[in-house]
Symmetry: C2
Subunit: 193 residues, 2 copies
């Protein structure tokens, strides 16, 4: 499975082959073909397992949850395997029907995680009932994703080692909008690192 | 150039070939090879041209600028050619040195556009001098990108036709954080459509 994701992450769908995966995994092609007769099936299994990003942790506060999620996401996107998720989105968008259901699965898992985080905050009285979670989730995931994409390749490992520091202003920016302004953005002076 | 981008957007770098581009463009391979001896050179030219996303328009207000930019970006990301930018980021991140300079070029162009937008807002007195533009830009671009990525493939054309409606809450969410809360988010009740 890891070999399948690595092979896909490197090359994308257009040159993803069972042979390539077998070579990378150091197993015989025959064994691979017996279990996964097509490359669609192999990739579906490999991605299905991987789409389970760590769910947002329950840290006891909205700000703690958002910072922990942003840090975990940044670490994820800067890891080589993290690009699998992104490649699926790109390949799905270019019209590969194979990817429609993986894509939907990934989108749904992430949306539910953010909705859970916001529901806990409403239950704790940190947010008003009925707070819209969709745009908050898009801004939080998006800020982390663009931050990761903008990192020069040679600096990725360095930034990944300091993911907490990099993620903190991104989480606080999204929170400030959700909770109505400056009072939410780092007002306690604490650090996620 | 359009054929090169289309070929790259479809398949990614791993299966990008001068032959594929020649076939798609309906021109002879010999002519293509004379002008671009390597696929790196061809793609560099094709992407260099395309990296010039429409600069954020000067609409006379920060909110107008942010909404116009979000709408243009959403339209861009939902267009088939828009995935070229994203593929470059993914391919660069997986370590293709070829892409390091394209990547840097794209990142710099977008950062400068956002910095210009914020500078105009500071000059008009809409924002305090010294406002940090980096996180705002990442949240704005990111929210639009994730929104585009989450659209089911079969709905892309529909959402693209209504890009203004979809982009408006994304722009307003990022603005609300930048300008200190709820007073910025759609307070005038106007619509970007």
């Amino acid at each position: 499975m890891a070999a399948a994701r690595a092979e896909y992450g490197r090359a994308g769908w257009a040159s993803f082959t069972l042979d390539g995966v077998a070579r990378r995994a150091g197993v015989g092609k025959a064994a691979l073909y017996r279990r996964w007769p097509t490359k669609e099936r192999l990739l579906a299994d490999a991605i299905g397992e991987h789409a389970r990003l760590p769910a947002p942790a329950d840290t006891g506060s909205l700000r703690g949850d958002a910072r922990a999620l942003a840090t975990a996401l940044l670490d994820h996107f800067l890891a080589p395997s993290g690009w699998v998720t992104l490649r699926v989105a790109v390949d799905a968008a270019t019209g590969l029907e194979t990817f429609a259901s993986f894509h939907e699965q990934i989108v749904r898992a992430h949306r539910e995680g953010v909705a859970d985080m916001v529901r806990r905050a409403v239950e704790r009285g940190e947010l008003a009932p009925g707070t819209d979670t969709g745009t908050f989730g898009e801004a939080l995931y998006g800020a982390v994703l663009v931050h990761a994409m903008a990192v020069a390749p040679r600096r990725r490992e360095h930034v990944r080692e300091h993911a907490g520091e990099h993620a903190l202003p991104l989480a606080d920016f999204a929170l400030a909008s959700l909770t109505g302004g400056a009072d939410a953005a780092g007002a306690d002076g604490s650090s996620a690192d």
